[in-house]
Amino acid sequence: MEMPTPDPAILAKKEIIVARLREVLPHDAVIDAPEETRAYECDALTAYKCPPLCVVLPASTEEVSAVLKVCQAEGVPVVPRGSGTSLAGGALPTADCVILGVARLNEVLDTDYENRTIRVQSGRTNLSVSGAVEEEGFFYAPDPSSQLACAIAGNIAMNSGGAHCLKYGVTTNNLLGVTLVLMDGTVVEIGGAHLDAGGLDLLGLICGSEGQLGVVTEATLRILRKPEGARPVLMGFDSNEVAGACVSDIIKAGVLPVAIEFMDRPCIRACEAFAGAGYPDVEALLIVEVEGSGAEIEHQLGLIMEIARRHNPVELRESKSAEESAKIWLGRKSAFGAMGQINDYMCLDGTIPVTSLPFVLRRIGELSKEYGLDVANVFHAGDGNMHPLILFDANKPGDLELCEEFGADILRLCVEAGGCLTGEHGVGVEKRDLMYDQFTAEDIEVQLRVKDVFDPEWLLNPAKVFPLKSTASRRAA
């Protein structure tokens, strides 16, 4: 993976830049010692690392604005950063960039149960947003698996999803307003506690823009009342095709589960070895969860199990208690940890139409043989968002490159099947060079023009999302 050559002029004036940043921020909010900036050298895509020029940790919207003004004046690229859990390298620095971390912006500003909204600073972690309203029986719906660590800022930038988005939608469907600081330091309010835009839907555009259009410092989020209860059923099938068909049938039947999670045999085995959740050794496993009162859950699970039975499951296990539910989820929730124990892995994130699940899984199996690398599949089956985990050995020369080629092939396969390169993790640097597999040059150009409007000098997270070739002239200008 290629990154732009750092600008020697910027590297040469590091001291001046740091000094100017110290003029607008408290002393401890500017980090430039190499041993300290190293903590920011990568995000969760750890294959790529590069310490930044320096790191700033502003504690207010005004400070963010002041920082951006300095950076704009000095022509320094800025990479916004939440908690650094991006799996796409969205927060990966370049040597000539300032990392703008929002970790100190972590207050809850307002909770409003009557209007069902919460206003937070963007550095607040996802789980702690739900935590702030839990006592009143509310929650914030988007729940990425990384929710303990990841920040609302990153969620908005990546339009993150989670296991429960089949019912509740992803970040963009739960975001009502943001405070956004543009690269020139202008502070704008978009949306608020009301619904829908009065003019163009700029909020919809900001969400998922990967930190390239502005820095989000505050957000108004929709909160929901917690359901009375939730319970999953686990089903095992002896083929991926059958499991896929079962997913389609459940969706068509009018039951709307909150989650339909899918795991294949390699993944089941790994999770079983790691967490001992008591999963059956089958080809494909589904976890389907529904919500409501006791009787409502009973009824929906009944319908789902009836559908499942028509597909001759090898195993059908309905949770009858909180402990049984926890046990069913245990393996799924430890999937990433389990894979990490066995091996280095790369986590992909393509989406496909649910109806092409069997075909795509079969093709991934074939590719796995061709490349000689194992793949475990775990994903949100209800919405077709796949997370194939390719196993490789980081210490073996050439294995990472092989793995990346394999990953690219899988993502191209997703596009061919009518899907896309990324369902929730974002493009970052990881999928940047595959964009032409999904888009024409014209499709890309219009997106670049959108960035021209917000950040004419291309200083905000400039080396991400789009193939470097396509942005070279803009970044150089």
Binding site: E114, N115, T117, M158, G161, G169, T172, N173, T186, V188, E189, G192, A193, H194, L195, D196, A197, G198, G199, L200, D201, L202, L203, G204, L205, G208, R225, S248, D249, I251, K252, G254, L256, G292, S293, A295, E296, H299, T351, P353, V354, D383, G384, G419, C420, L421, T422, E424, V427, M435, Q438, F439, T440, E442, D443, V446, Q447, V450, D452, V453
Partner: protein, 375 residues
């Protein structure tokens, strides 16, 4: 101009000398467009792909909504965001198209539960102001590949491009519907009751209040949908929850509940009533105060109070009456003179207006699409 395929549409746009007024079915005549040639998109018609098992449909922008709804209905599915039909309110004729629904981001009462048209839109193909065909999004439910221009196009009223094809998510129809009604509440109490209902775990799919209901008296309406046994359970719980607001009545007759929510959705109370119609999007708890400030001839609250429809004497400047507030007011029905004078859309703060103008200049550098409509 009436293209019958996308390539044709692109050629026509390439050749436009002055400007065009884009029309799908012509039923949503919101806003004022300066004198322009007509670009009629009703020739781009037909469902391209429908996969009930994936809950997705792709259709050409000019496809009649009725055709889409019929195809969905045959598979037991529907457009969950419940797009309103503007014909009665605006006295327009014609056939609503899916492109029009998307361009105006038209949603109905269920918006409060499931989201707006923009939340269901998965992908668009459109032709920009220079005749270039562009796609964004796709036909899958989760997609964060590149910028979300899909949301930007939804609600852009044709000012960024002429849409040729849209893809969207659909949902299963429900087995049954029930409505809890409370009579005689003040606006303030009604919004409080709706807030309480929406803050409950009982999954409200419609929350409206009419100070003057069909029979002339105040009525507050809370809709619950789903499987029959679940609906009856939740209706009972809802009645208990709202008991403190007054006597609650349950309506289960399918014809009556359908008609009642269509009455709300299409703002039937203002059909054939003299005057301008505005819609205000606001934080629900602010709604009663704003409605009072409007001194309106008619008011209808939907979305738990978050959407306020008001009827005012012709030419009234509602925004002047409301003063500063968090939200926006759109002039939906008025004569051209009033539309020109007051503007259809709420003026944006300067930096946002600059961004919007900047975006328009990129998508449509010569300003050929619907000039004057959005600023």
């Amino acid at each position: 101009m009436r293209p019958d395929n996308e390539a044709n549409l692109a050629e026509m746009i390439w050749d436009v000398q002055e400007s065009v007024r884009i029309r799908g079915g012509g039923t949503r005549a919101v806003g004022f467009v300066a004198e322009s040639d007509l670009l009629d998109l009703s020739g781009l018609s037909g469902i391209t792909l429908y996969e009930p098992g994936a809950l997705t449909m792709v259709a050409q922008a000019g496809t009649p909504l009725a055709e889409i709804e019929a195809a969905l209905s045959a598979e037991g599915q529907r457009l969950a965001f419940e797009p309103m039909d503007h014909r009665g309110l605006l006295s327009t004729k014609g056939t609503p198209t899916i492109g029009g629904v998307v361009a105006a981001n038209v949603s109905g009462p269920r918006r409060i539960q499931v989201g707006a048209a923009r939340d269901f839109l998965l992908g668009v193909r459109f032709v920009d102001g220079q005749g270039t065909v562009i796609k964004n999004g796709g036909r899958v439910m989760k997609n964060v590949t590149g910028y979300d221009l899909v949301k930007l196009l939804a609600g852009s009223y044709g000012t960024l491009g002429a849409m040729s094809e849209v893809s969207f998510k659909v949902l299963p129809k429900v087995e049954s519907t029930g409505v809890v009604l409370i009579n005689g509440l003040s606006d303030r109490d009604a919004v409080r009751a709706l807030s309480q209902a929406l803050g409950s775990p009982y999954e409200v799919s419609g929350a409206a209040h009419a100070p003057k209901g069909i029979d002339g008296h105040p009525v507050t309406m809370i809709r619950l949908e789903g499987f029959e046994n679940s609906v009856s359970y939740r209706l009972a719980e809802m009645q208990k929850l709202l008991g403190g607001f007054g006597e609650t009545v349950v309506e289960r007759d399918p014809e009556r509940t359908t008609a009642g929510w269509k009455w709300v959705r299409d703002v039937e109370a203002f059909h054939n009533q003299e005057g301008d119609v505005w819609r205000i999007s606001v934080k629900p708890s602010d709604a009663p105060e704003l409605a009072a400030r409007a001194e309106a001839d008619g008011v209808l609250y939907d979305w738990g109070g978050g959407l306020v429809w008001v009827l005012l004497p012709k030419g009234t400047d509602l925004r002047a009456r409301l003063g500063e507030f968090g939200g926006h007011a759109t002039l939906v029905r008025a004569d051209d003179k009033t539309k020109k004078q007051l503007g259809t859309f709420h003026p944006e703060p300067t930096p946002l207006a600059a961004i919007s103008a900047g975006l328009r200049a990129k998508f449509d550098p010569n300003g050929i699409f619907n000039p004057g409509l959005m600023g």
